[in-house]
């Protein structure tokens, strides 16, 4: 690289580090704070499940498509005015019933439809702000225990894109910090020691523990 280009690259690298950090500030705070809450489920102040509010109701429905669980569920949701990510039970209870959940951070709706009687019963669960924050951390529309689960709500996709953007932003910030440290000659040795210490500790957990 020509030496005249170096100051420019350094300056842009520093700008990138600052700009990414400032843009993603609120996203970062949400995910680090909720990460802490998820790792400490016994913290009483952040309890949300015992404080949930449950209500139930029944409605008549019509115009259910003859085929396809997803199409039927979407039709029922439209008629009931529900929006969110659809979760399916492992198995449907029978040919004349359709069961699914409609979830979004803050509320869940367990829907059971009697297809013969054209009636839907809904159990609506609302959780508090702590619960909303918990759910936002993991709200991706995928399930580790259900490989078939796919995102079916556009706002889940938007939220996943936001999470991906934050992750990509953090990776770029880390890489830009390595470059900055490398260019800071007086700090290079101490910086390398700090980085090496982090790599050894983290590497032990990623690679070392599988050989115990």
């Amino acid at each position: 690289m020509p030496s005249s280009a170096k100051p420019s690259l350094e300056a842009w690298n520093k700008k990138l580090h600052i700009y990414l950090g400032l843009y993603f500030l609120f996203f970062l705070w949400l995910f680090v704070f909720t990460g802490l809450l998820l790792n400490h489920p016994l913290w009483r102040f952040a309890e949300f499940w015992p404080q949930r509010i449950e209500t139930s109701y029944e409605r008549s429905i019509d115009r259910i498509p003859a085929e396809g669980d997803l199409e039927r569920a979407q039709s029922v949701m439209q008629q009931l005015g529900l929006a969110g990510e659809i979760d399916w039970p492992p198995k449907q209870p029978g040919a004349d019933r359709l069961e699914f959940s409609v979830n979004r951070p803050g509320n869940m709706n367990r829907v059971s439809v009697d297809l013969a009687a054209n009636r839907a019963s809904v159990q609506h669960i609302e959780i508090n702000a702590w619960g909303v924050m918990h759910v936002l951390h993991t709200f991706s529309g995928t399930r580790a225990n259900n490989p078939e689960a796919r995102r079916d709500w556009s706002l889940t996709t938007l939220w996943v894109l936001a999470m991906d953007a934050l992750a990509a932003g953090l990776i770029l910030m880390v890489l830009s910090s390595y470059y900055m440290c490398w260019r800071l000659h007086p700090k290079r040795r101490a910086g390398s020691i700090s980085l090496a210490a982090g790599v050894v500790v983290c590497g032990f957990f990623v690679f070392g523990l599988s050989w115990l």
Binding site: I18, F26, L30, R104, F139, T156, L158, M163
Partner: protein, 209 residues
């Protein structure tokens, strides 16, 4: 005085940031895996062949409950050389069996203890690098809180994951302080904070409803 505070903050931001950076990379890279990768269905890959080892069944294991049972199961696991975080303990009383999934980063082991015959059937599955980082991202996590951290290294990882959170918060606050000191970047920086706050608030509002 202000200059000393600035210099200390800058050095701490640099060195703490470099130390915690591998952890940040781990948590950030695994986001893509958790958001987009779908693990293969269990029937898609043939299960690995189990190994069978003799085990001296700890007395009282069938009647013990809660943490006592966990302790006795841990004793049995150490006899057969299985180490890791016990996910849960499933006691099948009519068959006199105890099934225990045990995980450590990169390895998932299922131990099927046959109490009547004093045998342990051990099935080990290596999940590789991505399995390890994905597990570490979710560990210790909110599930089975009463028994979580039953392995020493899970407790250490919980401490490190918490440390990553506190250091990241420190880095973001010290970063703001260092940015404020850079007068040249104030206007752009304020615009970016406002844009970030608006997009964050907008997306959260839309998703939560």
């Amino acid at each position: 005085m202000q200059r000393i505070v600035y210099r200390w903050t800058r050095n701490l931001h640099l060195y703490c940031g470099l130390f915690v950076s591998p952890f940040v990379l781990l948590f950030a890279a695994s986001v893509f895996l958790l958001n987009h990768a779908h693990p293969p269905a269990p029937q898609a890959t043939p299960p690995p062949a189990p190994t069978v080892r003799a085990v001296q069944v700890p007395p009282g294991i069938e009647k013990a409950e809660g943490t006592d049972r966990l302790r006795l199961v841990s004793e049995a696991l150490s006899q057969v050389g299985v180490a890791g975080e016990i996910q849960f303990v499933r006691f099948i009383s009519d068959e006199r069996r105890i099934v225990v999934p045990v995980v450590r980063p990169g390895v998932e082991t299922t131990v099927d203890l046959n109490l009547a015959e004093g045998k342990a059937e051990i099935t080990e599955r290596r999940t590789g690098l991505w399995g390890a980082v994905s597990y570490l991202h979710r560990s210790p996590g909110p599930h089975n809180a009463s028994i979580r951290g039953n392995w020493f290294w899970t407790r250490v990882w919980r401490w490190l994951a918490d440390g990553t959170v506190y250091l990241t918060l420190f880095l973001s606050l010290s970063g703001i302080y260092l940015w404020v000191a850079l007068r040249a970047e104030r206007r752009v920086g304020l615009a970016l904070i406002a844009a970030g706050a608006l997009s964050f608030g907008g997306i959260v509002y839309a998703v939560v409803g």
